[in-house]
């Protein structure tokens, strides 16, 4: 239940994130002047928090998407398995997102 609504919520978040990605690519193509404000927003504390949330949303949606692909095979559909894999998707997504965000921050700090 929680994983199902979270799948949709993260999907909507990724939709917005893809719009931001398109703006970022467009600004990069336009040149350094156009890129500056976009880069400044993304590297601000609020931008960094939004990007971290985007990373988690992408990873959760991917892991929970794997659950859907597994169900499409007609497997893992009983309540006990569904609950276990939902918990695994939440736990693994938080863990991996944390690793990626820390790796990014360490890389940024040089």
């Amino acid at each position: 239940m929680a994983a199902s609504i979270t799948h949709r919520a993260t999907g909507i978040a990724l939709y917005s994130g893809t719009v931001v990605l398109a703006v970022w690519i467009f600004a990069t193509a336009l040149g350094a002047e156009a890129f500056r404000p976009v880069g400044a927003i993304l590297s601000s504390p609020i931008g960094q928090m939004a990007l971290s949330g985007y990373v988690w949303a992408l990873i959760f949606h991917a892991f929970n998407g794997l659950r859907h692909l597994y169900w499409d095979q007609g497997r893992g559909l009983d309540l006990k398995s569904a609950r276990a894999t939902a918990l695994a998707a939440f736990a693994a997504s938080f863990g991996l997102a944390a690793v990626i965000v820390v790796a990014g921050l360490m890389n940024r700090a040089g």
């Binding site: 999907g11 690519i25 890129f35 692909l69 499409d72």
Partner: protein, 109 residues
């Protein structure tokens, strides 16, 4: 999802599978470019391989997210406004894809 249900189902799953490796590439690239200068970002995106992978990510992502949001519209929007929401969804997805592909072509050219 009323008359083209099976085709939509397959398109959603196929695009999901294509997006998995592209998402891994994207996250690796994002981590590698935290703190990069404009020139470094531009040089990275301008190589044919990275521009191609980014284009594939955006196109497949736009395709996939349009299907997902149409599904949400079917579930929550009143029947009278579904057509309008789906049109807006199509325009947004196509806009994201169009602006990105144009930009990537400019960058890689």
């Amino acid at each position: 999802m009323t008359h083209k249900g099976t085709a939509t189902f397959i398109a959603q799953r196929t695009s999901a599978v294509i997006l998995l490796p592209l998402a891994i590439w994207f996250l690796a690239g994002a981590v590698a470019h935290t703190g990069s200068t404009y020139e470094e970002v531009r040089a990275w995106l301008a190589t044919p391989l990275n521009a191609g992978l980014m284009g594939a990510l955006i196109l497949t992502g736009a395709f996939h997210m349009r299907i997902g949001v149409n599904e949400i519209v079917d579930d929550y929007a009143p029947a009278s406004s579904r057509g309008l929401w789906k049109l807006l969804n199509l325009l947004a997805a196509a806009g994201v894809a169009g602006i990105s592909i144009y930009s990537l072509v400019v960058l890689a050219a």
